[in-house]
């Protein structure tokens, strides 16, 4: 006799109909083991149905969704503080990472200017960092800041060379 263990969950979920349901019921009539399994599976199924959903402390998401869809202008403050907690965490992490990058890059530049061997030949750090000169990935203000840095390096080099 082939047991119907694999159909029991569908049976108690009400997903079987017609011949398939009749076949399972016919088997159950003559199989105490499968009947016990149906009882146990049904208890588990009903227990799962009593699971409660944790209450959300926040209200409707509509104001936030509205702001992101129907284009209500957000102020600078809302841009950050109106974002979800995880988004804010992400932004804060990005800011810290950017700060660390600056902390790493700037000392390399000053080593170069002081003639300390930074592992790169003279001028090469500017050449090898040529991706920096493609400043399209930066905003307008940031680009201006980068130009200032490069100009400062040029002036120092001129000073060293004279």
């Amino acid at each position: 006799m082939k047991h119907v263990t694999n159909r029991i969950q569908a049976y108690i979920s009400g997903e079987l109909a017609g011949d398939r349901k009749a076949a399972v019921e016919k088997h159950l009539d003559g199989c105490p083991a499968c009947r016990d399994e149906v009882d146990r599976a049904r208890q588990a199924w009903e227990m799962l149905g009593t699971m409660e959903t944790p209450p959300s402390e926040n209200g409707s998401v509509w104001p936030a969704v509205q702001a992101r869809t129907f284009g209500r202008e957000t102020s600078d403050r809302e841009w950050f503080f109106g974002a979800g907690n995880l988004t804010r965490t992400g932004l804060a992490t990005a800011a810290v990472a950017a700060g660390l990058m600056l902390g790493i890059l700037l000392p390399i530049g000053s080593d170069h200017n002081e003639g300390v061997d930074s592992g790169l030949t003279d001028e090469s750090w500017l050449v090898e960092s040529s991706w920096l000169s493609d400043s399209s990935w930066l905003g307008g203000d940031a680009t201006a800041g980068l130009d200032d840095i490069l100009l400062g390096a040029d002036l120092l080099d001129e000073g060293n060379g004279s």
Partner: protein, 186 residues
């Protein structure tokens, strides 16, 4: 705007840019989506973030929605995709956890004697749910907690009805085994 308007009609109006229709859709479904995402992610905070993202996606894709009466499956497909993406990212960052604290729920109206036993059992079941493989958990959450038929679950998960049947069968077997191993009966 009549509150009884069906989801397909609301989606058509949303695609035409009618804010009131979209608002009605969001308010009609946000609770169910939140519940599903909590079961998927095990974190209320993350779930709330993704509820927003889900409805933003619904709005963006409204123009391509086919009004065939399967809005619920379509909606939960979007929510499921976002949840899976979030879980993948968690895995990469090795943040995998199932924080019992975020699942601590109120037991209003229950007597003091029943409080502890009830909440402990709920907690044990939630933790066991969190240990299920992702697709089993998704199928079970959609079927048991959202009341979706196998056909709707299959539509939402991009699989077949027999596939859903298998996922749910295995999920329930694993849950029972997990809880039996911890001296709890499901």
């Amino acid at each position: 705007m009549p509150r009884t308007m069906d989801d397909d009609a609301l989606m058509i109006r949303t695609a035409e840019g009618e804010e009131a229709a979209f608002r009605l859709l969001v308010q009609r479904w946000e609770r169910d989506v939140l519940s599903f995402l909590i079961h998927m992610l095990g974190s209320i905070e993350e779930a709330e973030d993704l509820v927003q993202d889900t409805f933003v996606q619904v709005f963006k894709k409204a123009g391509s929605y086919q009004a065939t009466g399967m809005f619920k499956s379509w909606l939960f497909r979007i929510a499921g995709n976002l949840a899976r993406s979030r879980l993948r990212r968690r895995k990469v960052l090795r943040w995998v956890r199932f924080d019992p604290v975020v699942h601590d729920m109120g037991d209003a109206g229950r007597g003091p004697d029943g409080d502890l036993e009830h909440s402990q059992r709920q907690e044990a079941v939630r933790a066991a749910l969190g240990r299920l493989p992702q697709r089993q958990r998704e199928a079970l959450a959609l079927h048991r907690f959202q009341g979706m038929r196998y056909k709707e679950v299959a539509e939402a998960m991009g699989t077949t009805v027999p596939g859903v049947e298998s996922l749910i069968q295995r999920a329930m077997a694993a849950l029972r085994e997990d809880l039996a191993g911890k001296g709890d009966q499901l």
